[in-house]
C-alpha cells in the first residue's frame, strides 16, 4: 500500500541527483591528482571539491536513501498510511535547506574542511549549521519511524513486527544515537568557534566525539543494503528467506555493537589511552558477526531459489539462478565487494596492523569499496526494485540496467584495488598533489592512473543509472501491484518479545557507549590545557 509515492520519489530523486553531482566531483578529483594531468596548481580547489564530495556522499545521499526507503517500508510492510506526512515533508525540506546552506560556503571556498571537519580547522558557520539541519531533518524521520511502528503495534497487538520494519526502525535508532557524537562536536565545540565566541578548540576531544559518529554512520549507510539483502533479494529471485530470526538477530547485533567501536579511527591519536583503543579494537571484531550471519543466511536463501528453479548438486543451483535478474546481479557483486572490503576492514580494526596503513590511501580505497561498492550497488537495486511501484511504469530496458550494474562493479574494482595497493606502498591520503617525479612516489604513478580510469567507469555507470531512472518516467503506464517483501521459509507466527522490540538493544547500545566512551570524553572535557588556537579557513 504505497500511498505517498511523491514523498518517497522526492527523497530518492534528490538523493540520486546530489549523488550524480558528487560523483562528477569525485571523478574530477581522481583525475587531477593522478599523473594523467599536470595538476590544477591550486590545492584549495581540490579540498573544496573534496569537502563537497564527502559531505554529499557521507551525509546527504545515504540519509535521503534511508529515509525514502524507510517511508516506503512503513507503508508497504505495515499496510497503513504514513502517520505524520506533514512532518515527513518538513524533514525533507530541512534537508534541502541544510544541504544548500552547507554547500554555498563550500562552493565559495569558505569551508574547505572536509566532511570530517578536522578541527582546529574552522570553516564558515553556515556550513556546520547546514549539516546540523540535515541531521535534524533526519531525526524527524527517526521519530516518524518509531511513531508509525507504535501506531501499528496498538492496532495489531501480539502480532510479530514484519522483519523489514523491525530492521528499518533498528537502523533509525542507530542513526539517532550515532549522530549525537557529531552533533555534540558541532554544537559544543565547532559552532561556538565558527561564530567567533571562542578562538580555541580541543581538537583531540572533537576527534573522539567524531569517532562516536564516524564508525556507526557506516552501519547506518549499510542498513538499507542489508534490509534489501533480507527482504528484497529472496523475493526478487523467486526464493524464500532462509531464516527470519537470523535477520532479527543480525540487525540487533548491528544496533548493539556498531556504536562502541569508533575509537579504532583514532588509533594514531595520542589523546586516547591504549587500553580504550584495545577495547574498541576487540569490540570492532564483533561487527564481523552480523555480517557473517547475513552472508550465511542470504547465501542459503539464494540456494533455496536456485534449487526451486531446478538446480541440483553441490554447485548446480548456482547455474540455475536467474542471472538475468538485476537484483541477482547486484547482490552477487555486492557480496564480492563486501568480502574484499570486509577483509581489508579486519586490517584496519587491528590495533597493530593498522599502523602500516593508517592515514594512507588504503583507507580511502577501503571505504570506497565498502560504501561506494557493496552498499551503493544495493541502493541501485532498491531503486530499480521500487521504481515501477513508485512511478507506475516499467524500467525501460533490463539490458541497460545490467550494463549499469556491471560497469559499477568493474569500475569499483578497477578504482579501489590499485587504491589499496598504493596505500600499502605508503602513499599518504588527504593530499591535493603528488609529485610523481619524486623517486618516493614514482612507483605509485601507474596504479594511481589505473584508479583514475576506474573513476571514469564509475562516472559513466552513475550517469547511466540516472538516465535509466529518468527514462522510466516516460515509459507506458503499467500496474506493478502491491509492493511486497520476501517471505521466510517458515511462516513467522510467534516471535519472542525481545526479538520483536528494540528496548533491550537500545539500552545495551547506550550502555556500551557509556562504558567505552565516557571516560575518554569526560577526562578530555575536564582538562583545561588541551585546546589549541582555531585555524580559520580563508581568514586573513
Amino acid at each position: 500500500m504505497l500511498e505517498n509515492r511523491k514523498l518517497v520519489l522526492a527523497h530518492f530523486w534528490l538523493a540520486f541527483a546530489v549523488f550524480g553531482l558528487a560523483l562528477c566531483l569525485g571523478a574530477w578529483q581522481m583525475f587531477v591528482r593522478s599523473p594523467l594531468y599536470t595538476w590544477i596548481s591550486n590545492p584549495e580547489w581540490y579540498y573544496r571539491s573534496l569537502t563537497a564530495h564527502g559531505t554529499v556522499m557521507g551525509y546527504v545521499f545515504p540519509t535521503l536513501v534511508a529515509m525514502g526507503f524507510g517511508y516506503a517500508i512503513t507503508e508497504s510492510a505495515l499496510q497503513q498510511r504514513l502517520v505524520g506526512l506533514r512532518w515527513a515533508w518538513a524533514g525533507f525540506w530541512l534537508i534541502v535547506v541544510g544541504a544548500i546552506m552547507a554547500m554555498v560556503p563550500v562552493a565559495l571556498g569558505r569551508a574547505s574542511v572536509l566532511y570530517t571537519f578536522y578541527p582546529p580547522l574552522i570553516g564558515n558557520v553556515f556550513y556546520y549549521i547546514g549539516v546540523v539541519l540535515v541531521v535534524v531533518g533526519s531525526w524527524i524521520w527517526v521519530a516518524l519511524m518509531s511513531i508509525n511502528l507504535r501506531v501499528w503495534r496498538r492496532a495489531h497487538p501480539d502480532q510479530p513486527v514484519p522483519l523489514v520494519m523491525f530492521a528499518n526502525v533498528a537502523g533509525s535508532y542507530l542513526w539517532a544515537w550515532t549522530a549525537v557524537g557529531a552533533a555534540l562536536e558541532l554544537l559544543l565545540q565547532i559552532i561556538p568557534v565558527a561564530l567567533g565566541l571562542r578562538t580555541t578548540i580541543d581538537a583531540g576531544l572533537a576527534r573522539v566525539f567524531f569517532s562516536w559518529t564516524l564508525h556507526a554512520i557506516v552501519y547506518f549507510w549499510l542498513m538499507p543494503a542489508y534490509i534489501a539483502y533480507y527482504t528484497i533479494v529472496p523475493r526478487a529471485i523467486g526464493g524464500r528467506l532462509y531464516s527470519d530470526t537470523m535477520g532479527r538477530i543480525s540487525f540487533i547485533l548491528f544496533l548493539v555493537v556498531a556504536m562502541p567501536i569508533g575509537i579504532h579511527h583514532t588509533f594514531a591519536d595520542p589523546q586516547v589511552g591504549a587500553g580504550f583503543k584495545f577495547i574498541h579494537s576487540a569490540f570492532t571484531a564483533l561487527v564481523a558477526l552480523p555480517t557473517l550471519l547475513t552472508v550465511f543466511t542470504i547465501c542459503a536463501s539464494v540456494e533455496i531459489a536456485g534449487r526451486l528453479r531446478g538446480g541440483r548438486g553441490l554447485f548446480g543451483w548456482l547455474a540455475a539462478l536467474p542471472w538475468q535478474n538485476p537484483i541477482m546481479l547486484a547482490v552477487a557483486f555486492s557480496f564480492v565487494m563486501l568480502g574484499f572490503g570486509g577483509a581489508g576492514g579486519l586490517i584496519n580494526m587491528s590495533y597493530q596492523l593498522d599502523t602500516s596503513i593508517h592515514n594512507t590511501q588504503w583507507i580511502t580505497g577501503h571505504f570506497h569499496l565498502i560504501f561506494g561498492g557493496a552498499i551503493v550497488i544495493m541502493y541501485f537495486a532498491i531503486a530499480y526494485d521500487l521504481w515501477p511501484h513508485l512511478t507506475g511504469r516499467d524500467l525501460p530496458d533490463l539490458r541497460l540496467v545490467r550494463a549499469q550494474l556491471w560497469l559499477w562493479f568493474v569500475g569499483m574494482i578497477v578504482t579501489t584495488f590499485p587504491w589499496h595497493w598504493v596505500g600499502i606502498l605508503g602513499m599518504p591520503r588527504r593530499m591535493a598533489y603528488y609529485d610523481y617525479s619524486s623517486p618516493a612516489i614514482a612507483p605509485e604513478a601507474f596504479s594511481v592512473s589505473v584508479s583514475a580510469i576506474g573513476a571514469f567507469i564509475l562516472l559513466i555507470s552513475g550517469l547511466l543509472f540516472l538516465f535509466i531512472l529518468a527514462r522510466a518516467h516516460a515509459q507506458p503506464a503499467t500496474e506493478a501491484g502491491a509492493y511486497r517483501f520476501s517471505l521466510p521459509v517458515h511462516p513467522v507466527r510467534d516471535v519472542p518479545l525481545a526479538l520483536n522490540s528494540h528496548a533491550i538493544w537500545v539500552a545495551l547500545m547506550i550502555g556500551l557507549t557509556v562504558t567505552n566512551y565516557a571516560y575518554p570524553i569526560l577526562t578530555l572535557a575536564a582538562r583545561s590545557d588541551t585546546s589549541v588556537p582555531a585555524v580559520y579557513v580563508g581568514a586573513q
Binding site: 589511552g273 591504549a274 587500553g275 580504550f276 522490540s501 533491550i504 550502555g511 585555524v535
Partner: protein, 271 residues
C-alpha cells in the same frame, strides 16, 4: 510480556545480551588495562594502579625537569581573523603621523627604494606581528629593532591600520614578469614544501603571512636565507624555517626573482 519482564534476568535474551556484553567488556578491559601494559617490557610501572592509569590515557607528569629554553625569543604575537579588523579613521590618522619616521627606509608612500619591504597595502596583521616581534626581540635587525623598541601596543596597532589602508602602488622596480617557478606553483610535497601561495595570498591567506608581490628581490632572498640558516626565528611553529631549509639555493633565487617581478595588483583581495 511487560516491559518489566523484558528487562529481567529471567528473560533469557536480556540475560544473555547483558551477560555477554558485560563479560566482553570486563575481559577486554582486563586485557587492555592490565595484561597488555605489562606485556610491553619497555614500559615501567610503579604498580598495578599506575599501569591502569597509563592504559586509560591519564596524562602523567614527567619527572620534574625544566623544559629546555630556546636560545632565542619566540614570537608572542597572537592573531585571530578579528585582530585589527575594521580600524577607525583616527587610528589610521595616528598611524600616518607615526609612519613619518618609517619613511626613511620604507618610503613616504610605503614603497621602498632601499631594498626594505614595501608596506603599502600590506595585511594589517603582518605589520602588527612583525612590529611586536621586533619589539620583543623575536626578530632582530640592526636598523629596525631600535625603531620598534619603544613602540606601545596602541602605536603598533595604529601603524598596522595605516599601512594596510594605503593603496598598493605598483612596485618601484618593475621588471618583466617572470613565469612561475615550479616551487611556487607546486611546492615540493615530498620535501614538505607547500606552494608559496597557499599561505602568501595568491591561493589562500594564512593570518600573519604577508603577500610578497613586488617586494625587493634582495630582501626576499635574504629572508629565505636567514630562515634556512636559522638566523630568523619569528615564524610560528618554524613553518618558514622548515620550508626554506628544504629549498635549494636555486629555488630560493627563483622564488625571490619571481615574486619581485609580480605587480601587487595580482594579490588576492581580502575583505
Amino acid at each position: 510480556m511487560s516491559t518489566r519482564e523484558l528487562f529481567s534476568f529471567r528473560n533469557p535474551y536480556f540475560a544473555v545480551g547483558v551477560g555477554v556484553a558485560a563479560g566482553l567488556f570486563v575481559l577486554t578491559a582486563l586485557a587492555g588495562f592490565i595484561l597488555l601494559p605489562y606485556a610491553q617490557p619497555e614500559l615501567k610501572f610503579a604498580g598495578l594502579w599506575d599501569a591502569i592509569c597509563s592504559a586509560a590515557g591519564l596524562p602523567r607528569r614527567s619527572i620534574a625537569v625544566e623544559a629546555p629554553k630556546p636560545a632565542h625569543r619566540l614570537s608572542e604575537a597572537v592573531l585571530t581573523p578579528t585582530t585589527l579588523a575594521r580600524p577607525s579613521q583616527e587610528a589610521i590618522g595616528r598611524g600616518a603621523t607615526l609612519a613619518q619616521r618609517c619613511a626613511i627606509c620604507h618610503g613616504p608612500t610605503g614603497i621602498s627604494r632601499a631594498d626594505s619591504p614595501n608596506l603599502a597595502g600590506q595585511y594589517a596583521s603582518v605589520i602588527y606581528k612583525e612590529l611586536l616581534d621586533f619589539r620583543s626581540g623575536a626578530r632582530t635587525n640592526a636598523v629596525m629593532s631600535p625603531f620598534a623598541a619603544n613602540l606601545t601596543d596602541q602605536e603598533i596597532t595604529d601603524l598596522a591600520a595605516y599601512y594596510a589602508y594605503l593603496p598598493r602602488l605598483p612596485a618601484f622596480h618593475p621588471v618583466q614578469q617572470l613565469p612561475k617557478p615550479r616551487v611556487v606553483i607546486y611546492g615540493a610535497p615530498v620535501r614538505g614544501i607547500a606552494p608559496c601561495g597557499s599561505c602568501h595570498g595568491s591561493l589562500d591567506n594564512k593570518a600573519g603571512s604577508p603577500w610578497l608581490e613586488g617586494q625587493s628581490e634582495a630582501y626576499l632572498k635574504a629572508q629565505l636565507q636567514a630562515f634556512a640558516a636559522g638566523q630568523r626565528t619569528n615564524d610560528i611553529s618554524q613553518q618558514m624555517r622548515n620550508v626554506a631549509r628544504a629549498m635549494t639555493p636555486r629555488e630560493i633565487d627563483g622564488a625571490a626573482a619571481y615574486y619581485a617581478s609580480q605587480p601587487p595588483e595580482v594579490v588576492k583581495a581580502t575583505d
